[in-house]
């Protein structure tokens, strides 16, 4: 299999994971889906690597894989266990409609790729990355629970990682790593915040957050 078709193949599980995320009704499933997607995406830099395997790419993939595939799911599971909540996702928008929007997002991503003139070799990966970002945002917008917002954030982050791998793989390693560190801290802080939210509100539904308005 050549690089291009390999890339095309890798894109498929990412897109499928997006749609599954939009359709899933259980938090635990969500966590697993995001972790799976993250794991797949974590190794894409290897696919796009043109020359021989560099230390740079290897370290990046290893760190990303361990974070996205192991640390984040573990953190999230831990938080979920502490927070006694109903494990159903409560959407503002029904699942079928969410999936429809997800597909629309995919189409929009393809349009964007065409509009920007992404080369044939990477256009599908580009679209998949973008669709993942949009899926993440969609999750944040259409789901009530604070928890799903973290999931959405992570999905968007997956998309961004893929985008980096597709478009701009050449940055300094330590900066790539600090970006990952930032994401890690973000998830960590959000986890703590969810913990506090649960204690304060006895729920992690964001529709309880309505005391601050004009």
């Amino acid at each position: 299999m050549d690089m291009i078709s390999l890339a095309h193949t890798a894109v498929v599980p990412v897109i499928l994971a997006n749609l599954a995320l939009l359709a899933s009704s259980r938090l635990v499933t969500c966590i697993r889906l995001v972790a799976l997607q993250g794991a797949v995406i974590s190794v894409t830099p290897l696919i796009f690597e043109t020359g021989p395997l560099s230390v740079h790419t290897a370290v990046l993939c290893a760190v990303a894989l361990s974070l996205k595939g192991l640390v984040f799911p573990w953190l999230l599971h831990r938080t979920l266990r502490r927070v006694v909540v109903r494990h159903e996702i409560e959407p503002y928008l029904g699942y079928p409609l969410s999936i429809l929007l997800g597909i629309l997002g995919l189409l929009a991503s393809l349009w964007l790729a065409a509009r920007l003139g992404v080369p044939e070799a990477s256009s599908r990966s580009f679209a998949a990355a973008f669709a993942t970002i949009l899926t993440g945002l969609l999750l944040i917008v259409t789901r009530k629970k604070a928890f799903t917002q973290v999931m959405g954030y992570l999905a968007a982050e997956n998309g961004i990682f893929l985008l980096t791998a597709v478009l701009a793989p050449g940055g300094p390693l330590f900066i790539e790593l600090t970006i990952l560190l930032d994401v890690f801290v973000a998830v960590f802080v959000m986890g703590i915040a969810i913990h506090h939210i649960n204690r304060q509100f006895d729920s992690i539904d964001t529709d309880r957050f309505c005391s601050l308005k004009d």
């Binding site: 080369p119 970002i133 961004i160 050449g170 940055g171 300094p172 600090t178 930032d182 915040a193």
Partner: protein, 493 residues
């Protein structure tokens, strides 16, 4: 080397503060650290140190200006924090708004987060690598979220959560923008040569693919614009500013928003170098006017005085954006505006803290007669109101005048009329609550305490007010020079 110390020092101090369990020594550390940072910043801004790590750390005039502002504000906030923290204990206390009980976060966490916050802002101003700049801005979010949640009750938690989610999402978009920008240099092909060094991007700007740049700019504008508080992405801003401790609000409004603005300015620099300034300016102008209009609509009839100040920040960010869209001499106006707004708004937030402490209310209907009850605070409150709404002889008047002049010189008469009209509306909208609070007989049983007002509480705002006045009467030549250079950079001249 100076730059490296400047960036790393706050993180080290933050670590130390986290470990420091005793109250007074933690506060001492805060003030000492802030003072040291201020001295180093001044040295860095005017000493023009060399680039470090191959240009990753590099302080130009634009970064220098924002670094200086951040450092001054932090020093003022640190002094203020000494008085504030010694009054705010960690034991259970009653929420004056709803009567529920809550306790504050431990002091060591608070001080440590303040230092991390400072460190990440310093990083933002001192780097020329857009990726690292992004890291810095995301780090400010993460460091300041616990600050907002200092008072551990449900409203501040709500504000902190909204802040965290909205800004994280926004900044994630900015990261997409960065990636697109990096790719723009290589015309969209996967490009191992692509780089996010500002210098490289500027150098290759002419050869850049304009469509990619446009996409990148939109993402950066929306992403950093969220953090900067441009409408309609500003929604986190009033919540976070009104619920956080006042000194944190001061830093958020006076320093953090500037840092996000710096992110946008960097993108604008590249755009100007690529000859795409005409593409950027309608976006700047549109979002700027929308922000001003939104601020006007929310200030008029607003009862909560900290929210008023927050919306006023939205307004001023709008003015900055508008000025950048106008370009030319307005860029100088924007720099002056950023400086004057920072010191004035920080002063107002610190004063709001004083009023809140004395009156136990954020409602401008209930906190009456501030001048009688707290003379210094009250007078500064009115002066700050006049300053922030652009009355002479304060700095904002001059910057707003410069921006207006640029608009008229460019023949944007309708724009100028809208700008003046919105400024007028905001003036009226702010005058009503501010004067209602300042004047009249005080709410009963309010007194500044046996020894009058605490010098630690009124000193920093007084100093900031003095700076605001100074900017209006006399812009020192070295500062004028700094502003001019910064403006030249920002507008890509």
């Amino acid at each position: 080397m100076l730059l490296a110390i400047l960036v790393i020092l706050p993180f080290l101090l933050g670590g130390a503060a986290f470990l420091c369990r005793s109250g007074p020594s933690g506060r001492g550390l805060l003030v000492t650290g802030a003072g040291a940072h201020l001295i180093l910043s001044v040295a860095a801004v005017f000493g023009r140190p060399d680039a470090l790590f191959g240009g990753i750390l590099l302080l130009d005039a634009l970064g220098g200006l924002f670094l200086l502002l951040t450092s001054i504000l932090f020093a003022a906030a640190a002094v203020y924090a000494v008085g504030y923290l010694s009054r705010e204990h960690t034991d259970e206390r009653r929420d004056f708004q709803e009567g529920a009980f809550f306790s504050n976060a431990p002091q060591n966490v608070f001080i440590a987060c303040l230092f991390f916050f400072l460190g990440s802002m310093t990083l933002v101003t001192a780097t020329h690598h857009l990726g690292l700049l992004w890291v810095g801005i995301e780090a400010t979010t993460l460091a300041s979220a616990p600050l907002i949640y200092f008072h551990r009750h449900h409203r501040s938690l709500e504000a902190a959560w909204k802040y965290l989610v909205i800004c994280s999402v926004g900044i994630a978009l900015a990261l997409v923008g960065n990636i697109l920008l990096a790719a723009a240099g290589g015309s969209g092909a996967p490009d191992t040569e692509s780089s996010l060094y500002l210098g490289d991007l500027l150098a290759r700007a002419k050869a850049m693919n304009p469509v990619w740049f446009k996409a990148a700019f939109v993402f950066l504008m929306v992403g950093y614009g969220t953090k900067m508080g441009l409408a309609p992405m500003h929604t986190w801003l009033p919540d976070a500013h009104s619920e956080s401790p006042s000194l944190v609000s001061a830093l958020l409004s006076g320093a953090l928003l500037n840092c996000a603005f710096l992110g946008i300015l960097r993108a604008h620099q590249i755009g100007a170098a690529a000859g795409l300034a005409d593409f950027c300016s309608p976006i700047f102008i549109g979002l700027g006017l929308l922000s001003m209009a939104t601020a006007a609509a929310f200030i008029i009839g607003q009862g909560d005085f900290k929210r008023i100040l927050a919306y006023s920040s939205v307004e001023h960010m709008g003015i900055l954006s508008l000025a950048m869209g106008l370009g030319g001499t307005a860029a100088f106006g924007a720099m002056l505006q950023a400086a004057a707004h920072s010191v004035t708004k920080a002063m107002l937030f610190l004063l709001a803290g004083n009023i809140l402490t004395a009156f136990h209310t954020k409602s401008s209907h209930d906190a009456r007669g501030v001048i009688r009850a707290l003379p210094v605070t009250g007078i500064l409150w009115v002066a700050g109101f006049l300053a922030i709404t652009g009355s002479p002889p304060f700095g904002i008047f001059l910057s707003e005048l410069t921006i207006l002049k640029a608009a008229l010189d460019a023949g944007h008469f309708v724009l100028a009329a809208a700008y003046l009209g919105l400024l007028g509306l905001i003036f009226c909208g702010m005058a009503v609550p501010v004067l209602r609070m300042a004047q009249g007989p005080p709410t009963p049983h309010i007194a500044p305490g046996p020894r009058g007002e605490d010098p630690l509480s009124v000193g920093p705002p007084l100093l900031l007010g003095g700076l605001s006045l100074l900017l209006g009467l006399f812009v020192p030549s070295f500062f004028n020079d700094l502003l001019t250079r910064a403006a030249a950079l920002a507008s890509g001249m």
